[in-house]
């Protein structure tokens, strides 16, 4: 699906186990590779990830399964705190 990159801003991010992760705040681009490197996620679910003093997280694009009304990423066992 081809879409404007600004469509991503503000989209909610969930894992494939329907767990809320956060919201897309920005997109990191790899200019030489001509691809999206990662998504910058803010408003992070504190129950899922302990941010300590950080303000957000970066999700590599390879973890993304699909993007439409939300962004769906693979649920990583071990990377997230057990709910």
């Amino acid at each position: 699906m081809r879409t404007q990159i600004t469509h991503l801003f503000g989209l909610k991010v969930y894992t494939d186990e329907s767990v809320y992760v956060g919201e897309v705040e920005d997109v990191l681009l790899d200019v030489e590779g001509k691809k999206i490197e990662s998504l910058i996620i803010g408003k992070v679910n504190n129950d899922l990830i302990d941010l300590k003093t950080y303000k957000g997280i970066k999700i590599p694009y390879r973890l993304i399964m699909s993007i439409a009304d939300i962004v769906m990423i693979r649920h990583l066992q071990g990377a997230f705190r057990e709910l």
């Binding site: 404007q4 990159i5 600004t6 681009l29 790899d30 691809k35 993007i67």
Partner: protein, 83 residues
């Protein structure tokens, strides 16, 4: 390796490798399936001759393949931008 945040590209100026100003960046078209950056959507400067380029209303589309680098300006190869 150039990595750049999408929001920092807002209204960035686009210049050809031979020093001609094309206009300002409006948006980037991405393919969500592959994460590849496909096209740049540009508001062309009134002085820029858009003949030979893909024009849709007041907007100009050039392929991301023509992008050489992004720093203070987005530099594109004019021979690759035309089609």
């Amino acid at each position: 390796m150039t990595r750049i945040l999408a929001r920092s590209l807002s209204k960035k100026k686009i210049m050809t490798t031979d020093g001609k100003m094309i206009g300002t960046l409006k948006n980037i078209i991405v393919d969500f399936d592959t994460g590849m950056l496909v096209d740049l959507i540009i508001y062309p400067d009134p002085s820029f001759d858009t003949a030979g380029y893909r024009v849709d209303g007041d907007r100009l589309t050039i392929t991301f393949d023509s992008v050489k680098d992004i720093k203070d300006y987005i530099v594109v190869d004019r021979s690759l931008a035309r089609r």
